[in-house]
Symmetry: C2
Subunit: 348 residues, 2 copies
DNA sequence: GTGAAAGCGCTAACAC
DNA sequence: GTGTTAGCGCTTTCAC
């Protein structure tokens, strides 16, 4: 415990607690005799003084705590974000409290309110849905909040994400150049910005290539392997007809490949597949997944930085939308269309 | 923010703050007129009162915050533990602060001290090394602390882990029954309890089978894929001579398989490999990794429960060592020895 | 440049 | 059963 108090330090240094406080506070140190500063610092060191952050927070109404809300920490998308955020936060003297909502909006609401009771200085939200009451509430309360990975429809909160339009376009172009003329988009759920944005980007990309009709979009219920497999199964039972598939994320892609395999189709021989996010392990799958690399660590870092900027200077306007550059990663789940057996089997 | 204070509620209910405090506190509610309780609760609800946890903590010297220290949240071993712990903690009204030490003992030390300054009620440590100054310091400070996944050599802190001796024995027996007579143990680092324990279990298992000389142990520098690959490469260049390999964890196993492949050897045809922990994705590798399943969520949950028990009743003795049952998961990286091409090529 | 005094929002003795 | 008082450990006016 923080056994030794500031008053102990002050006594040992022969000064008043107020002076000790100033001496130890970088902001106020200027107005203190440099010799006094030295004495106080020495006393603090000898006593092993550790300031009581709670007391400070109570007085300053700043807790130096930031809450990070994730839907599911076991989803490999989030740990790098958490890590990035934690790195900049702890470096700045802030502490990160993590809360996992288990993908449940009600848990999200109650956890956020618990964090507010703790007096956290701000929120990093990685759970935003397209229409999100929790986000709206945070906006109302005007507590510093930044959105990461996903954003909502209406709020003008700072947002740090990836350049998904570009990422999806790279996938579509790659497949088109490989000769694929019938491309399926396995879309993410409509209640997430990432799902919506990637779908819209898919359509734009085809339009830009002059082939607006070369694509079909199928929505998945969630960004999960199961959802991807289910949608793909259904499609395949309905006859198929595509030689390439752009999945809205890696998990959907994995589910799709699984379903393909169960239908006796192979990837990439029969169907080319692209994922999205480059989760840490997808390059080790067999075949390694072609996907879009997203700087997740950096997303975490930048969201933390944006939040700190807001906390430090609340007067400033805070509504920057940051889209990080992505990288297309060609691996082994995409192949030229003319090598496809699929055309012979299902189409033509 | 927690704009409305208890005094506001008290005023509205026409009572003193102390009474309002009692009315809202389940422990002290008994000594309050039930009608008063009702009035206070109603006022609190109408005003949207949210108690200020900092102020309460300052007064009670209880923060209802627990710190969880992990070496690297992007290692798939830890998210399930975090999730499990967070679940029981938040259910009990506690908040989890997460800190990622980036596998650096110095960061660990400084982060722990920062958390203590915050007045956290206890620690869950997932970073313990066999000799660990940070753990020793925590013991000295007598702040409630439980170890999860790894423990240290000396402290008698509560520990929640898996039954590694059993898990490793299952691997060895499985391989022995498949006819393997020359088994390698890719050991984890000696400065972790898991590394040491699994190595010792490997030796015991062979002894119990009456084949104490059928095994060799090679230490890896870290529990990483790279370390596993490096050790395996070295071995293979030295001549090899084993048909099976028990890795101390999944990452080492993956590295080993990679090295094997680079040497033109295939798994399981030439060498059978077992992993440990059943990280979420290893069943989707090709071939799916034979490994030992460990209830990681439950480890997180039980460690949080053990910690809460200690926090709630500090007088009690707190030194329980909990070893959770494991499950051997036979998948595709293990095969009978007599089908091995390796005997023909490198041995014999 | 330093001390005195007040108070952040809450709870726990102690009165009554 | 409820009000009074004091104080958790710190920072911040305001004097001097």
């Amino acid at each position: 415990m923080a056994r030794v108090r500031l008053s102990d330090v002050a006594e040992k240094a022969g000064v008043h607690t107020a002076t000790a406080s100033r001496a130890l506070n970088p902001e106020a140190r200027d107005g203190v005799n440099s010799d006094t500063v030295r004495r106080v610092e020495q006393a603090a060191r000898q006593l092993g003084y550790v300031p009581n952050t709670l007391a400070r927070g109570l007085r300053t109404s700043r807790s130096y705590v930031v809450a990070l809300v994730v839907p599911d920490i076991t989803n490999a998308l989030f740990p790098p974000i958490v890590r990035g955020a934690e790195r900049v936060l702890s470096r700045a003297g802030y502490t990160l409290v993590l809360t996992d909502t288990n993908n449940d909006p009600r848990t999200e609401l109650s956890q956020i309110s618990a964090m507010r009771a703790r007096g956290v200085d701000g929120f990093i939200i990685a759970t935003a849905r397209w229409s999100d009451p929790a986000v709206a509430e945070l906006v109302d309360s005007s507590i510093p909040t930044v959105l990461v990975n996903r954003r909502d429809a209406v709020s003008k909160l700072p947002y740090v994400g990836a350049d998904d339009r570009h990422g999806i376009r790279l996938c579509v172009e790659h497949l088109a150049h490989l000769g694929h003329r019938s491309i399926l988009h396995l879309a993410g759920p409509n209640n997430t910005s990432t799902g919506r944005e990637r779908t819209s980007a898919f359509r734009s990309a085809l339009r830009a290539l002059g082939r607006p009709t070369a694509g079909t979009v199928v929505s998945c219920a969630a960004f999960t392997e199961d959802a991807g497999a289910a949608a793909t199964h259904e499609l395949l039972e309905g006859g198929g007809g595509f030689t390439a598939l752009v999945a809205a994320n890696d998990l959907l892609a994995m589910g799709a490949i699984e379903a393909l395999t169960e239908h006796g189709l192979s990837c990439p021989t029969d169907v080319s597949v692209t994922g999205y996010n480059d989760l840490s392990f997808v390059r080790r799958l067999t075949p390694p997944l072609t996907t879009v690399g997203v700087p997740l660590d950096e997303m975490g870092e930048l969201s933390a930085e944006a939040l700190l900027a807001w906390i430090v200077d609340p007067a400033q306007g805070h509504d920057a939308q940051t889209l990080l550059p992505v990288a297309f990663l060609e691996r082994a789940t995409t192949a030229p269309a003319d090598r496809s057996r699929r055309d012979r089997r299902l189409i033509g």
